[in-house]
Symmetry: D2
């Protein structure tokens, strides 16, 4: 939940949960003082059945929503988010996502993989996941996105990961999935945005390269940053080494971002993320 | 504050503060489920004068202390802790402590430096801080610690940092400063305890060396760990390189631990630390 | 190559290669002064056919081997090492090894997977790799290792990775693969050796946990260390979090060690590794 | 030394040193294939007196210089570089430079400190180092730099460190000290160049902030990068936390760069650095 900051909000909320016989097993909050915004993430244990859960949500909003201008989301822990994976030709992120999901480390279901090339179809088959091949050209882009939206709707997809998809997504899809599309950018944004960041980094002679996972917004490579990390390089490394090291980092950083998202630990506010621990 | 975990504690405490017109500007808590222990750190803004502050503390304990078996400490932000620095012959940690304190980055006062050697007296003079030279031998150890205690009392010292003091402290001082004596051990405890950890690490052919800052307890090198960090080494590094890199790390890790302690962010429980962010 | 350190060795070797029309594209060396040992790794480009290559090796050893008491190995870059993967029930390292090998990031072939359980057979099938199920009990251990050796021989295996194999290997296999069996130990050795390191680390209240990849020798968890890395933990993490974070690190560290080994960048000397960059 | 890459160069050079009874105790080289450039750093032990040393240099250049179009520098290990420190009002980097130099960890002499403000004069006095106060305004800039150059010449300064000097240096000084002026920029260049990088980083919502040490060239913040490092931040950190964490990093990164420079481990080529280990 987030709302304008106001005295007594923590007391009121925890009090309310207490009265409803909920047991708070986790609570964390953050106040953005510059914007006077309050954020809180709470995990509650309770004897919830379908009826109780709906009742709890409704009475929570009725009792507190108006007073505090609350903006809140409720999730049941056992209900896994449905995540679509968009890929192009690179396999390193795809392999990692599927392996981690199968190992039970990434808490989501993956109803399908979508790609503008057929190269990685064999991996989808290896993992027994439906694979949709939707070629994208300048000419058919509108049609292709229309088809993508249809499948997304059909499978009731909740979030999309661009696992090195290499295509620009237009507002048609972005608007349908606001702060629900996760991208991995192979650079330490905002340094080296654009198409060939490892080459730019090499030319600049940097000693560290980075990778950024962020939500996709209409402005390219400028959406809310979820996670970043870096790896050291030296004069001994050529562009190809930058790329190899970078790709290794991409899969690590993207997975971390996906785990945070799937565990509902991220709130987006303005163009930033509040990431609870 | 910490206490046995109990439903409703957050609500009750935040409620109480709210009623006393305190504004919670920071709150963080942690529950150790295995031991069913609850920990909370709260920062409150309010119109406190001397009278109010004492009144607030008293009524807090009276209202909540018994119900929750609370164990709590109160600090006024503007009252800096008084920290004594014990050194031997190594200067790297001492320089860093004094520089950071003078730069306003380490929030404490340093009433004196104490050493069993005169080597670093000139640094105390450089920074215009009283320096007590108390030699320690097998024979005079009891007497030396007696003298140390006298000065510690005289200057109303609150905590002690062993900045590579190289002497074992006995229970006489430890008991007077429980969880108030901070040591830096030049190894990644519990690997390589004892006197020559860098040599042991070198002989084992490790690829990473570490440093540990911990509170001093009677069992040597076994007190609650505050902070640790590591640095990479390779086959190219000889013992002297291990030592040089290690010393660089010691000053960084010790400073971090001291800052956490001086900002009252550490609670000790069992033989572990809860470190709030 | 390695040998006792001696003046003029670099000049002589590079001179020799130069005379044979070899072009040195990489050269790195290290001198262990305490033991007066010299190590060098050289990559040569040249017009090598089968005849040339054998001739080069022979004349190298004949010309320089005796003078410098050289100990050297020759590898053709295009000949990939054959690596057997031993697993038990954990899948995280296995998935990573297979994915990275298929992505072309781990330069080896994987002729088979061997396990004492059938749990991961489906992954072998997913990746279309032979899977040998060899149960190991106290009683049949001698027989089981005999069978393992037979397959290792049959497939002309060059090195073995214990990807969380969870069984102790005896000297029968170790002697056949000296410094060729790579293990991942889920702790920052030498801290917390043995079976439940994450539990020990948790009980000690450490702030950092680590993982170590090493060659297997007869003394348990005491072989030459190849690579180590760490990850931060805090009081907020329970044993299960330690394990989850640790497993994520295990796959990263093991892969790094395997890549170094497969790219012939490691020399073992005494109980240490020289790892060229 | 660096030169165009050419077959046989390592053999020839090591051979020459060998013939002169020099003992190579360290050798490292790097080939930039894209530019076909060869770099080598060699440490030689020998019985050098004044006469020998000059003779060695001369015969080295005479024998090899022309053939290989060598570009080489010679240094005697015992002759420490003379480094001038320029500061403004921030004390954190200055304290660290002086402490580390006094601790024997930074191998240089510091003949004077120069500043456009008098704020840090007391630190110069603490460490007993001449302090030159040269105010810089728009109007007197030419005159101020003239005065700076005079002192630099008088003290035979070899390199300059801008320890958060906060003033732009013009070509008058840069040309006199090409690749000899080391700056610390409080950002992970090339992200956030300019005056208020921590504010920009905060506004972008980054998860990592960085610091870059580089040689000063005429194009602002665009000179050859020596060393970079980063530190994690989160939504919990406000601009002031970014600044505090960043300043802690600045002193670490600047010191590393200075140590590399003073130990003659850096070669500049094009707009990049080759940093030997």
């Amino acid at each position: 939940m987030h709302c304008p900051d106001k005295k007594g909000i923590i007391a009121t909320v925890t009090n309310f949960i207490h009265q409803q016989n909920g047991n708070i097993v986790y609570i964390d909050q953050y106040v953005d003082r510059r914007q006077s915004a309050f954020f809180m993430r709470v995990i509650i244990e309770g004897e919830f059945d379908d009826f109780n859960y709906i009742h709890f949500k409704e009475s929570f909003i009725k009792s507190l929503g108006h007073t505090f201008q609350l903006n809140c989301s409720f999730y049941l822990e056992e209900k896994l988010p449905k995540m679509a994976v968009f890929v192009s030709k690179y396999d390193h992120c795809l392999y990692d996502i599927l392996s981690q999901q199968r190992s039970g480390k990434l808490h989501c279901t993956i109803p399908f993989i979508c790609s503008n090339h057929e190269d990685l179809k064999f991996i989808a088959e290896q993992f027994n996941i439906p694979f949709f091949y939707i070629p994208v050209t300048k000419e058919n882009k509108v049609y292709a996105e229309q088809k993508q939206l249809e499948i997304l709707n059909k499978y009731e997809i909740e979030c999309i990961v661009l696992a090195r998809y290499m295509q620009i997504i237009t507002s048609k899809i972005i608007d349908a999935y606001p702060n629900k599309i996760i991208n991995i950018h192979h650079s330490f944004l905002p340094a080296f945005p654009g198409a060939k960041p490892y080459h730019s980094a090499f030319d600049r002679g940097v000693k560290i390269i980075g990778t950024t996972s962020h939500y996709v917004t209409e402005e390219l490579d400028a959406g809310p940053i979820i996670e970043q990390d870096i790896i050291r390089v030296s004069h001994e490394h050529e562009v190809n080494d930058f790329i190899a090291k970078g790709q290794d980092l991409e899969r690590v950083v993207l997975l971390r971002a996906l785990k945070l998202h799937c565990e509902r630990k991220i709130m987006v506010y303005g163009n930033k993320t509040v990431v609870f621990n």
